[in-house]
């Protein structure tokens, strides 16, 4: 194969048909540009939403489900084994919220290789007292420094800091909704009462905002010890253990293991967020469907233009063949035209996509759910650019294939006779 000549002829054809060439190349440019922009933006959004979930949800959550004991005392009594046992009004046992042996479990978890970290929490149902009004809500006792290490909780503390809570025994990170309802600010005091009626004053050291109104209107954070004290429970009273893993893929298997090993309920993140995957998949599907549609349109453009060109260049093809160019040579001349259109259009598409992505990346975007976010999220992954150019090459290759095969089989005798 004699590439310099073939490319030279291809180049000359393209240059003399500048308008058609430009149209065809622009088709590819828009297709690829749209793909890059969409996929970068969509993935940026996906990642943002994933982060939202991943950072607020532990990989594995251990707690005790409130449920009646399966083995009622009567079944332990051998004498009744062969009789029909009827027990009415079974109630769950008191104090079941507590995870048994929570502290040893916590220590064990922290030593496991797969586990990045584990934090203990105490959840308490309480009332926030504001004048004569009682707002019901939750108070969560946490090891705040460990929480901030393992999740991006710090991002959600919009005023104050986790350190302030850590050093202040009676401190509270108040939910932002609660703060505005009760018109409280950092430094103020808030009174809470337990279900049993005991009242405690706490000092607001920070405001917490998750972006989810329901949570912000009811939930606040205190130190683990503070909540234990409020509930009048001992240091080993722990209702929840949140676990972060090194590899999130292991969550389902480990969760099952923990359930058996520790006799607790364990939910893993995949279980908790199954719907999330679906959303991500659908967004990806839309991105690729739109991009492929655009590329198919661009492909038809190339196909059309090459067909036209071959029709116009019938005579030239006949001459080339008469002077010793083989069918393959002629095919490669037109294939290279398609590929040149594809490469030029594709590279311009990458540039266009990049520019649009940068523009989108600069558009201001504020959401309460992600306080650290100031502009639209865009994912600049090199992978999309690689996929984009491969896409462009494949589609132009397919579009160029049929016309070039036609050119290959043109019979020079027919053309020369025809004139």
């Amino acid at each position: 194969m004699n590439w310099p000549v073939i490319l030279n002829i291809a180049k000359t054809h393209l240059l003399t048909k500048m308008k058609s060439t430009a149209t065809a190349a622009l088709g590819v440019t828009f297709g690829i540009g749209a793909y890059i922009t969409m996929v970068s933006f969509m993935t940026g959004l996906n990642n943002m939403l994933d982060d939202l979930v991943l950072n607020q949800t532990p990989h594995i959550h251990l707690y005790n489900e409130i449920e009646p004991t399966i083995d009622q005392p009567v079944s332990l009594y051998e004498q009744f084994n062969n009789s029909v046992q009827m027990i009415s009004s079974i109630k769950p046992k008191n104090g079941q919220k507590k995870i048994h042996n929570a502290l040893p479990i916590l220590n064990l978890l922290k030593q496991m290789d797969e586990v990045k970290g584990a934090t203990a929490q105490v959840r308490a149902q309480i009332f926030y007292l504001s004048g004569s009004i009682e707002l019901s809500g939750n108070l969560i006792g946490v090891d705040i420094m460990e929480e901030t290490r393992l999740s991006n909780m710090r991002d959600y503390i919009i005023e104050g800091s986790p350190e302030a809570l850590n050093t202040m025994d009676n401190g509270i990170l108040l939910g932002s909704g609660l703060a505005s309802k009760m018109s409280l600010r950092i430094g103020d005091r808030v009174q809470i009462s337990t279900a049993q009626g005991a009242v405690f004053p706490l000092k607001i050291v920070g405001i917490y905002q998750s972006g989810v109104a329901d949570i912000d209107n009811s939930q606040s954070y205190c130190n683990l010890k503070t909540v234990q004290r409020i509930l009048g429970e001992a240091q080993n009273y722990i209702t929840d253990i949140n676990i972060k893993l090194n590899n999130i893929e292991n969550a389902p298997i480990l969760a099952k293991g923990f359930e058996k090993q520790f006799d607790v309920t364990a939910t893993d993140i995949n279980e908790a967020n199954a719907q999330f995957e679906t959303g991500t998949n659908i967004r990806n599907l839309i991105t690729y469907a739109v991009s492929i549609t655009l590329l198919i349109v661009a492909g038809f453009g190339i196909y059309n233009i090459l067909n036209m060109l071959i029709y116009e260049k019938m005579k030239d093809i006949a001459i080339l063949k008469a002077t010793g160019f083989s069918g393959k040579d002629v095919q490669y001349i037109f294939m290279s035209q398609a590929m040149i259109i594809g490469i030029v259009g594709g590279v311009l598409g990458l540039v266009l996509g990049f520019i649009l992505s940068v523009l989108i990346d600069g558009v201001p975007f504020k959401t309460e759910a992600l306080p650290t976010m100031t502009t639209y999220p865009v994912d600049f992954s090199v992978m999309y650019y690689v996929i984009g150019i491969v896409f462009a090459l494949i589609s132009t290759f397919i579009a160029g294939w049929l016309p070039s095969i036609k050119a290959k089989h043109i019979d020079p005798v027919k053309i020369i006779r025809g004139t």
């Binding site: 002829i9 030239d316 001459i319 063949k321 010793g324 083989s326 020369i416 006779r417």
Partner: protein, 229 residues
Amino acid sequence: MDIVLEAKDINKHFHKPKDFHVLKDISFKIFNGEFASIMGKSGSGKSTLLYILSTMDTEYTGELFLNNKLVTGLSATELSLIRNENIGFVFQFHYLLSEFSVVENVMLPAKKLARKSHQEIEHDAMQKLKMLGIESLALQKASRISGGEKQRVAIARALINNPSILMGDEPTGNLDSYNSDNVFNIFKQLKEEEGLSLLVVTHDEDFAKRTDYIIQMEDGRIVGKSSNL
């Protein structure tokens, strides 16, 4: 003398619109350095024969030898190489690639052959153009020169790879008598100075009479061969 081109019992049929026996038992030889012409009524099969001899048409029976080598039955790619290397073809209509310059048109078959460097090919092309008296047009676009000039460019292109034989299908058919004369003289000169073999289909009696001999065709048959020497 060596045989450049030999046809043995060539027969060809067209099947559409109905079966038509266009070439019947064509056999003849052309020796090295001969300048032969083919004459015959319109429709007698001259062009059809020339397309077969130039290896562009492969749908025939019989055998075709080029430089004593059988070319019948070779693959399309092998045949295109043979055309590139051994056969120069000049059409009635000056087929040039209109987007290329004159010299690029001439260089194209040599670039395809790729036996010489770009400089050598360019030098050869300029030499051929000079021989045909059109070196001043070298850098013109092929679409911007006259018919007579185009035909000379086509001849230069046919000669660029120093072929064994030059074939022409009414190469002067579209030219006035002055330009026809010019083309004839070029052919004659090529035969005499370079020892080139030529086979030219023509309707021009004067032209034919000045060639070495005339092959007469009628209804797809060779009916006579008259020497002018």
